[in-house]
């Protein structure tokens, strides 16, 4: 079998979310997890495959939007950059609990909002 194309990887990523699993891309050889922007292994050039992440991670950074750029997104809302414990970082939505969202550096756990939108909430 040949390497997965970019589109196949991306579709598989969304499909895994529909099944409630956050995935990351990993080298089909021995190099391990790669950055989400990669479509080939940046170390050895091999293809990539999807692997299920644990869903645990921490907040690498966060931004709170106050300006409304999309009528479906009620402001203010916070977008996180989460570092999965496997290494890759990705943008995700934040779950607000008791009027507070996960802070930079805090431990978080993946959860799914409606329509399989990936979000993270603070681990207590």
């Amino acid at each position: 079998m040949g390497n997965k194309t970019s589109r196949e990887l991306e579709e598989a990523f969304y499909q895994s979310l529909n099944e409630g699993v956050v995935s990351y891309f990993s080298c089909t050889d021995l190099c391990g997890p790669v950055d989400y922007t990669a479509r080939l292994c940046p170390k050895c050039g091999s293809g990539l495959e999807l692997k299920a992440a644990s869903g645990r991670g921490h907040v690498h950074s966060a931004v709170t939007y106050h300006t409304q750029y999309n009528e479906n997104m009620k402001t203010p809302y916070t977008v996180l950059m989460v570092e999965l414990e496997e290494g890759p970082r990705l943008i995700a939505s934040a779950i607000s609990e008791n009027n507070s969202v996960p802070e930079v550096g805090s431990e978080v756990m993946a959860t799914m909002k409606a329509d399989s939108v990936l979000a993270f909430k603070t681990v207590r």
Partner: protein, 394 residues
């Protein structure tokens, strides 16, 4: 890379009216106007131009600024014609490629032009720049989470810097205030009213940690420069702006555990290369013009080019080093925040103004050696340039 030094000279600069009103002219028309003004400023004729380099906003399609600008402007028999698409680093990159082409004998007088009209009838510049930014490369991913614009990407970076180094909102204000103090002295700047602490902190949030005055002030217009051989510039109409150093830096730091793309940019590589080419270093600088579409992007540039240590830019700015009267003037026209946002041409325009000695009330005392930077993407694409009124630096 070995260059003959000075690498080249900038002998002409042309600017259209810059405006916050919807433009009656197309981007293409504005580019032509800026080009013709640059040719006139240089004391050249249209037939003297044998190279043309174009730079459009990365948000605009290629037909916005096509190579047919050549025909619109009536430049005949060009030996160099191309478009540079390296986002905010393009202005300096154009000057670099023009310089190399001139040294190689490919062309003699190369026009480099940027033109853009982000402010429209129905939307301000902020909305124009609010497209979703792809950080993962997975189609639709960022938009799904409401992650829009360079504003969000740079806000994430600022928040990371705050977390790692204790940079504060007061530090961001100090940067915005320093820019505004310069703008108050500049007839070219758009925002010239004093920026009080209350003005800054009471302004609306855009994308936290950025408030309104942390963000660039978009305008419609165009700026062009003419690059020529260093030897040719000394007897021309305008005081020569010698280009002594040029460098690019594209670090490709991954978004992965152990890496910090938010606080380590390719600006360091670009500046080091520019310094090496010119044979100078940070203490030799009399002024700096950095690309600062956001307060934090200017601050990060200062760290990466070495004005202060990594993580210390907040206190450095708060101590007043970059403001009028400070030890190292930075963004003497008010930069993108208070001057005007013409992407990579804003810092280039101000550096030329300072080197020529045409800064008026904002003219720096030491214009012998200046550093100019450009950056694009999410702190990904960088270029730097050293300029001087002197043909010999040391």
């Amino acid at each position: 890379m070995s260059y003959k030094r000075p690498v080249a000279a900038i002998c002409g600069m042309g600017k259209t009216d810059l405006s916050r009103k919807p433009s009656k002219h197309s981007v293409r028309e504005l580019a032509v106007q800026a080009c013709l003004r640059a040719v006139e400023d240089a004391g050249l004729k249209k037939d003297d131009i044998d190279g043309l380099m174009l730079n459009r906003s990365p948000l605009e399609p290629s037909e916005t600024l096509p190579m047919h600008v050549q025909r619109d402007a009536g430049f005949k028999d060009l030996s160099l014609l191309t478009s540079v698409e390296a986002e905010g680093s393009s202005a300096i990159q154009m000057i670099q490629y023009a310089s190399l082409a001139i040294q190689a004998g490919m062309a003699k007088n190369v026009l480099c032009v940027f033109a853009d009209c982000p402010v429209g009838a129905t939307q301000g510049g902020g909305a124009t720049f609010a497209m979703s930014m792809e950080l993962t490369g997975i189609p639709g991913w960022e938009a799904q989470h409401g992650f829009y614009g360079a504003t969000g990407a740079y806000a994430l970076a600022a928040a990371r810097h705050m977390h790692l180094y204790g940079t504060t909102h007061d530090h961001l204000y100090a940067y915005a205030r320093s820019s505004r103090e310069w703008a108050q002295l500049s007839s070219d700047a758009f925002l010239r009213k004093e920026l009080t602490r209350d003005d800054y902190f009471s302004a609306r949030w855009i994308a936290e940690p950025f408030r309104m005055f942390d963000c660039a002030f978009p305008v419609n217009g165009a700026i062009a420069v003419v690059v020529t051989a260093a030897d040719a510039a000394k007897d021309m109409k305008q005081p020569p702006v010698y280009v002594h150093g040029l460098g690019q830096g594209h670090a490709a730091v991954p978004n992965f555990a152990g890496f910090e793309p938010e606080v380590n940019s390719g600006a360091e590589i670009a500046a080091k290369t520019a310094f090496k080419t010119a044979g100078v270093s940070v203490p030799d600088l009399g002024f700096c013009e950095v690309y600062d579409a956001f307060s934090f992007s200017g601050m990060l540039a200062m760290e990466d080019i070495g004005l202060c240590k990594k993580g210390e830019v907040g206190p450095f700015v708060a101590e007043g080093h970059t403001a009028p009267g400070g030890s190292i003037p930075v963004n003497t026209g008010g930069g993108h925040l208070s001057g005007f946002y013409m992407q990579g041409m804003t810092p280039v325009h101000e550096a030329i103004t300072q080197v020529r000695g045409f800064g008026g009330d904002r003219q720096v005392a030491k214009n012998d050696i200046g550093l100019v930077t450009g950056s694009g993407g999410r702190m990904e694409f960088h270029a730097a340039m050293i300029v001087s009124p002197h043909a010999k630096l040391n």
